[in-house]
Symmetry: C2
Subunit: 168 residues, 2 copies
Amino acid sequence: MTSKPGPATPAFPCDGGEPLALDNQLCFALYAASRAMTRAYQPMLRDLALTYPQYLVLMVLWEWDAAVARGESPDAGVGALGRRLMLDSGTLTPLLKRMEQRGLVERRRAPRDERVTLVSITEAGRALRPRAQAWVERQLEGAGVSREEVDRLRCQLWQFLGKLGTAG
Amino acid sequence: MTSKPGPATPAFPCDGGEPLALDNQLCFALYAASRAMTRAYQPMLRDLALTYPQYLVLMVLWEWDAAVARGESPDAGVGALGRRLMLDSGTLTPLLKRMEQRGLVERRRAPRDERVTLVSITEAGRALRPRAQAWVERQLEGAGVSREEVDRLRCQLWQFLGKLGTAG
DNA sequence: GCAATTTATATTGTGCACAATATATTTGTG
DNA sequence: CACAAATATATTGTGCACAATATAAATTGC
């Protein structure tokens, strides 16, 4: 057995005394919380046979698919996907190839500009959406966190991210 | 050039209408914020020639080192390190070997229990601490975020993490 | 005292992340 | 039109993360 980290039982003080103490570092809190969140999604991801970043890609493609259904023409290239998820092509290209192998997405060159690779969802990829939605709604009820707390935290994170982008 | 994600300019609504919309997912906010934070540390990490998880390991070892200096005897095995950082041995073992190669840490078997690998810091590893501290303090000033905002966000993240561990 | 179980770490394999670089296409400039 | 610069993606290489498994030492039950 690989030695598991076990339950998270760190002291999490909110004062922030020592600058270099591990628990006082926002970076570690973000890092630990992000991985814990991904772990919390594992039951769903196992059920859908997806990885977490693959699930994120599908969420974007579901949005694009809905936009196309509304008559819009979203930029559906790898670059647009990367800007949306803040991931680069070195991450996305192999990931998309695996998803293409599984029949979840299609990749083809844009006729107008042969440099861009257009990514679109398949019927098999569309079929995962209601299953994911059911999971997420069940999770919202099951977890011991209120909808307000989640919204507040998410909002603060995006504000913080915006400041990191401009000032950092 | 690898297509970079570019500046983070998502719409970050705080209402949370559509349940499956990407920007309404706390998981994505955490994931994006954590990676953005790691990016923000890159200048320091490049200067110290460390990776981000290696820096976290050093922070724990600095704490252990201070505890030893106070006459305490902290559990200094790989398992304790993993519980502290919520990482398992499959991640830590190769990482520690690389740090050992660079002369930053020492690894040896515990005489009392030959199963445990004791990890301790070297003088070269100690020498990085003041340099890191200087960087972190400079960062706190330079970033456009207040100390209070950072503390509040960090506190909320730990509370959230605790609930994920118990209820999720 | 010794087999069965538990505990602690290491190993193997897959899939991200991202830096550095390469390739190919398009666009601007003379 | 030729050709330099810009653009979009792909490739390569390193280092996490983590699941599944293997190995070895310690502990427990009898």
